[in-house]
């Protein structure tokens, strides 16, 4: 352990400001400035939102994408703790960290978007069980708490509170199950949100299957984010890149992409909407086709072992999947409504900056977490050794049998 942290420190000592540092600094400064404007002058001053376009970039990207991209948390914990796929174990911590930060940022972003941020707690006490939004806000709140407890051992370990860690370890399975349930609920419910507007959502996107679309796409986007995050850690923190595990994740994502695409085709058939796709001059159709292309292309690349087998290929696939996912959420929440509203919405510079601010804070928070806590496991040999012993059916020391999350 000590050996590894010294290596890590040495790596950081060699840290030189790059282009990315400047981009990050710019985003943080601009974001802070526009946050100030937002919280002193209101929504009208910073956004292009209007009575005709009540939801824009912040709902579409910060909230819908934020929640979806954080879906890796429940997917990976489910695989490790429910299905007991041990080889994913060493990516649980970084994935849970990503999910945890994701959900915190979604809550922060919500404070920017809702008109009365000081009332954000209302749904906890003023219920409307008929509202999907109510259900989502309860689920997200409780799930964020679950993620807090899942992540707590990492902090407690650092504080050397081993008793508490041991106690939390015993809770992990029920916690993971509750987390999976809550995630399934709110990931799909974000799709249900749009079911109320059959006459407003463009027919290419309106579908009774929306909850299922949202759930499946969140899972593959969550997996892609996990791959992406591994590459980021590899690039910026010199962490090991376990290509075997990433390969497995991508194959899973491929399966889900295929399922998703098939469901989309069935849905188009049910709606008799294929003919609509020929109207290439309509923005909606073009956006929809682009979205489909960003499903089919990464799917095809995943099916090519030659691409999937390379680091570049893996990274490219994860980026494509994430892009497709983001486009889908933006389409459902903005593009699909534009024909009804008859207004073309394009986010303002401050809107972009605040969304980028959220992402920037995410990166910085991740960096600090990695710096101060044991997020990444003690490198490869540990796992190898562990697997060998498991194969040999040897008695494993307690700590290795069920390492802390």
């Amino acid at each position: 352990m000590s050996l590894i942290s010294t290596t890590a420190i040495r790596n950081r000592a060699g840290f030189k400001p790059t282009l990315w540092t400047f981009v990050l600094a710019f985003v943080l400064i601009a974001g802070a400035y526009y946050s100030f404007v937002r919280f002193t002058h209101g929504l009208g001053d910073v956004s292009a939102l209007s009575d005709k376009v009540p939801w824009g970039l912040w709902v579409g990207f910060d909230v819908l994408c934020g929640v979806g991209l954080a879906a890796g948390g429940f997917t990976i914990t489910a695989m490790v703790y429910i299905f007991n796929i041990e080889r994913f174990h060493h990516i649980t911590r970084p994935t849970v960290l990503t999910a945890y930060l994701g959900y915190i940022l979604v809550s922060v972003a919500l404070m920017y978007d809702i008109g009365r941020p000081y009332a954000i707690w209302h749904p906890l006490f003023m219920w409307n069980p008929h509202s999907v939004m109510f259900e989502v806000s309860l689920c997200v709140t409780v799930y964020t708490s679950v993620l807090t407890i899942e992540f707590l051992p990492v902090i407690l370990e650092r504080l050397r509170m081993h008793r508490a860690v041991a106690f939390l370890r015993r809770l992990i399975i029920p916690l993971v199950i509750v987390g999976v349930l809550l995630s399934t609920l709110h990931q799909s419910s974000l799709g249900t949100v749009f079911l109320i507007a059959p006459y407003k959502v463009h027919p290419l996107w309106y579908s009774p299957l929306l909850p299922i679309f949202f759930f499946v796409s969140a899972v593959f986007a969550g997996l892609a984010t996990t791959v992406f995050e591994s590459f980021m850690s590899y690039r910026f923190f010199r962490k090991q890149l376990d290509t075997e595990v990433l390969d497995a994740l991508l194959r899973m994502a491929g399966l889900l992409l295929a399922l998703y695409f098939a469901l989309k085709l069935i849905d188009l058939k049910n709606k008799a909407a294929f003919s609509m796709l020929y109207q290439l001059n309509s923005t909606e159709v073009r956006m929809f086709l682009l979205e489909m292309a960003l499903i089919v292309l990464p799917l095809a690349l995943i099916m090519m072992p030659r691409v999937r087998g390379t680091r570049r290929g893996m990274f490219l696939i994860s980026v494509l999947v994430i892009l497709g996912f983001v486009l889908n959420r933006m389409n459902v929440s903005v593009t699909a409504f534009s024909a009804y509203h008859g207004v073309n919405y394009f986010p303002t510079f401050p809107e972009f900056m605040i969304s980028a601010f959220m992402v920037g804070i995410g990166f910085v928070a991740f960096y600090f977490a990695v710096k101060h806590f044991a997020i990444f496991p003690e490198e490869e040999p540990f796992k190898q050794d562990y697997d060998d012993k498991l194969r040999a059916g040897m008695e494993l020391p307690e700590i290795e049998k069920r390492p802390a999350l």
Binding site: G44, R116, A119, N128, P129, H130, A197, Y199, L390, M394
Partner: protein, 297 residues
């Protein structure tokens, strides 16, 4: 457990109920809700309703084309006719069903009202309203959702007519119970079949609306009164929502089961392998040292 967007409590106190949903008033017979009949055949475009609305609601007088935070109703010229636009006070309002904090509520009397002290400003009501009615105070730091509240607090709850119905001198805006308004509308169509298109908009659309319209021409000509099916919108989400408790229970049990089975299996495998390893150890003359390799690592 009750199913469907039906009442969850007993019907009293449907304003500001902390806790359970205040959909109680949905026990009111839709026909008994108060509503407004807008007769575009009689409307002269005099704007008396517009002015009265500004007055009752103390709104700044701007000459606005469309609904906004200071304008709860407008009179639009469509072809030869004048058509008022305002909240429809739906029998099953989408806005009410989507509001996470029940800030929008269908009262037992009929008006769909708003409680700014509950509202969080998520604007889901604006996204959900099929008529595109609610507007927002975008420049305020304590923004409110603004729309026609059918003069609930100041007039209708005290047994008075709405400002607009009171002001209209031509019988083009009439307030009353839905069933009476529908009867009146039928009569007007019957008496002057050549003047009226024989259709009451809002009688059945989306489960019925409080504001209903008569017109000389088919309603396709009025863009803000689109052709809607009779199915109320809140059912679409409720169909999914009410299943969730069952799904949670089933999925929870299933996952607990899977966890248990998988873990047991792994344990068995470990146990058995442990046994064979142990047996091997005893058989072989030279004691193996499984840990030796690890130590050198």
């Amino acid at each position: 457990m009750r199913r469907g967007p039906e009442p969850l409590s007993d019907g009293k106190n449907n304003k500001k109920t902390f806790g359970l949903s205040p959909h109680a008033h949905h026990q009111t017979d839709p026909d008994d809700y108060m509503g407004l009949l807008i007769d575009t055949v009689r409307c002269t475009g005099c704007m008396a309703c517009f002015m009265a609305c500004k007055e009752v609601n103390e709104l700044p007088n701007r000459n606005d084309e469309d609904l906004n935070k200071d304008t709860y109703t407008v009179v639009k010229k469509i072809g030869d006719a004048f058509v008022r636009r305002l909240c429809m006070h739906c029998v099953k309002p989408a806005c009410e069903s989507v509001c996470p904090v029940a800030a929008l509520q269908k009262t037992a009397l009929g008006p769909v009202i708003y409680d700014e002290d509950r509202c969080i400003g998520c604007r889901y009501c604006m996204m959900a309203c099929p008529f595109g009615i609610p507007t927002y105070e975008w420049d305020s730091m304590t923004p409110r959702v603004e729309k026609c509240y059918m003069c609930y607090e100041k007039r209708v709850s005290q047994g008075k007519l709405t400002g607009c119905a009171q002001a209209c001198a031509y019988g083009a805006t009439i307030m009353g119970k839905r069933k009476d308004l529908i009867a009146l509308a039928r009569k007007r169509i019957q008496d002057n079949p050549d003047k009226y298109h024989p259709y009451i908009y809002g009688e059945h659309e989306l489960g019925g609306t409080g504001t209903m319209y008569l017109s000389a021409v088919p309603f396709e000509n009025i863009p803000f009164l689109p052709a809607f099916r009779d199915e109320p919108l809140p059912i679409l989400t409720w169909n999914v929502l009410h299943r969730l408790p069952d799904i949670v229970v089933l999925a929870g049990v299933l996952m607990a089961g899977v966890t248990w089975i998988v873990n047991r299996r792994l344990e068995r495998v470990r146990e058995e392998r442990g046994k064979t390893a142990h047996a091997n150890e005893q058989e072989s003359a030279q004691p193996q040292e499984p840990d030796a390799q690890e130590k050198t690592d």
